[in-house]
Symmetry: C2
Subunit: 312 residues, 2 copies
């Protein structure tokens, strides 16, 4: 297995990315290779400073970088030798089995759609986020930003994608899928939720448990919380701000600790033809290491094949 990493992506790249890759190397078995895509000279220097033999990595040199603020589509088109563009090229050609980056999220989404493309039948690939449960364990919220406006059939598909992710990667069997809404009753909600509820109620593709509300997000009401990417992104950033506030206030609690993005490493793009993971822009080496381990997990779990089978 060959796991590709954009070493130029993220606010603290390439130092944080290379150091994270070194940490991941220490854990991965010898047949799971890390392929570092970016400025090879910088990678060598960082490895040298860290006293690490760079020969443990495969290096793919690139001399362009897509900045965090660049327009995704324009950047992908104009910078064919950027680490993100080259990474997706390698993924498309099967030269790496997974690709991850803590760089420009939009460019990662566009790159995935342009190269490995959506799995046939998946209307809109999406991005999930992990939400910790108060009683322990975790849930999945999706979409958290790939699709600001959604249609009912798209939300139904998010339910399928979320179920497959949490079953295969996080080992939750027969996960409960809930529709994030503003009331418990079937007829509640905005037009989108009112139209989605009957689709979910009738589906046999997952275990639908009905509407769930904002207050239920950390409960055991559901394992998969489905919403449009606008709502999900607002919710995710609000939840993250609570974590930041508890940290600033010096509040130590295992529940709040489980909001720490570092331990989850990133978010896969669900519904494309290959494992792709997007990390948080502020990723430190610990987060990068976990992003790489998540990439590995996406490959070993054969999640993509399972999604393809579900949408066949």
């Amino acid at each position: 297995m060959r796991i590709g990493l954009d070493v130029m992506g993220g606010d603290f790249a390439p130092k944080a990315t290379v150091l994270g890759a070194i940490e991941a190397f220490k854990i991965l078995p010898s047949d799971q290779k890390l392929v570092l895509i970016g400025d090879s000279e910088q990678v060598k220097n960082i490895c040298s400073e860290a006293g690490f033999d760079v020969a443990n990595f495969e290096l793919v040199h690139t001399d362009e970088v897509i900045g965090m603020g660049e327009h995704p589509t324009k950047a992908i088109v104009k910078k064919p030798n950027s680490s993100i563009s080259v990474g997706f090229g390698l993924l498309q050609q099967g030269k790496i089995d997974a690709f991850s980056s803590a760089g420009n999220t939009g460019a990662m989404l566009v790159g995935a759609m342009f190269t490995v493309k959506a799995i046939p039948g998946v209307v809109r690939p999406c991005m999930p986020a992990i939400v910790p449960k108060l009683k322990g364990g975790l849930g999945i919220l999706l979409d958290v930003g790939a699709n600001a406006d959604c249609k009912p059939d798209v939300l139904l598909q998010f339910g399928i994608l979320g179920k497959l992710l949490i079953e295969n990667v996080y080992n939750v069997s027969n996960p409960k899928v809930g529709l994030l809404n503003i009331g418990e009753e079937e007829e509640k909600g905005n037009l989108l939720c009112q139209a989605t509820y009957p689709l979910m109620k009738e589906t046999e593709l997952f275990n639908f448990v009905g509407n769930v509300e904002g207050r239920d997000l950390f409960s055991d009401h559901a394992d998969v919380y489905v919403c449009d990417g606008f709502t999900g992104n607002v919710v995710l950033k609000l939840a993250e701000s609570f974590y930041v506030i508890t940290r600033k206030k010096g509040i130590k609690d295992e529940f709040f600790d489980r909001f720490n993005y570092e331990q989850f490493g990133g978010s896969p793009i669900l519904g494309v033809n290959a494992p792709v993971v997007i990390g948080h822009g502020i990723s430190n080496p610990e987060a990068i290491k976990n992003m790489l381990l998540l990439s590995r997990e996406l490959v070993t779990s054969k999640l993509i094949d399972k999604i393809k089978a579900a949408f066949n």
Copy 2:
């Protein structure tokens, strides 16, 4: 001034409502009368038990109650002698200056729209919620549930309504109005936000500070956070759940304490022709007292006249 209270509304009514009214009575000057609408016999008994002279209140007897789970429109039509229906009748006739209830939120919204009606020019009345700021003070989030689906002109109006509320009732001068979105840049967001941003950018009706994100809700980025009622309701319930979690975990902190709904007493319906306040279903006497004081504040601040003038 005569402040009307639905004594039958709320999970702990009529005991919590009558005890809350007694607390409010102790604070209000003698020319600000409380009008208790509901089962007079029960009111008398609760006052008697509390050693309080019921003659301090004006009583309006009603013998029907709209339950928390009843369908709002049907209940209002079928129960003309319910405390909510009678309360709105008194408000419409000018026999009370404000009406508040911790009962069925939907019935309160429908009752307000059927009787005192929307202020001419206001497309959709809405409900705000208070959000505490980390640095102290408060902001307003609206709409939090009256309108699940909104159009851009409606969000623009929410900005005006929020500005007038926070200026006149919470004494924040020249409040900053932000659009709750999923990115800072003008072109970000769902179709609703993309269409709303230009309207807000061009308006001279309030001080628009651009897009704000979920993580900014407790910051000083804005004083008024505008969103559709679906997003606002999800956000509000999520924020409330954080407060509940911190309480359960025994975390004492003045910031989290300021999430306590009791101190705000309830949410006015903004954009109707009279002061109407809806309290939390779980209101205790402290919350009811503060709901009545908020009702009083809506009258003394002449907020309704100011909204009428703005939409004239």
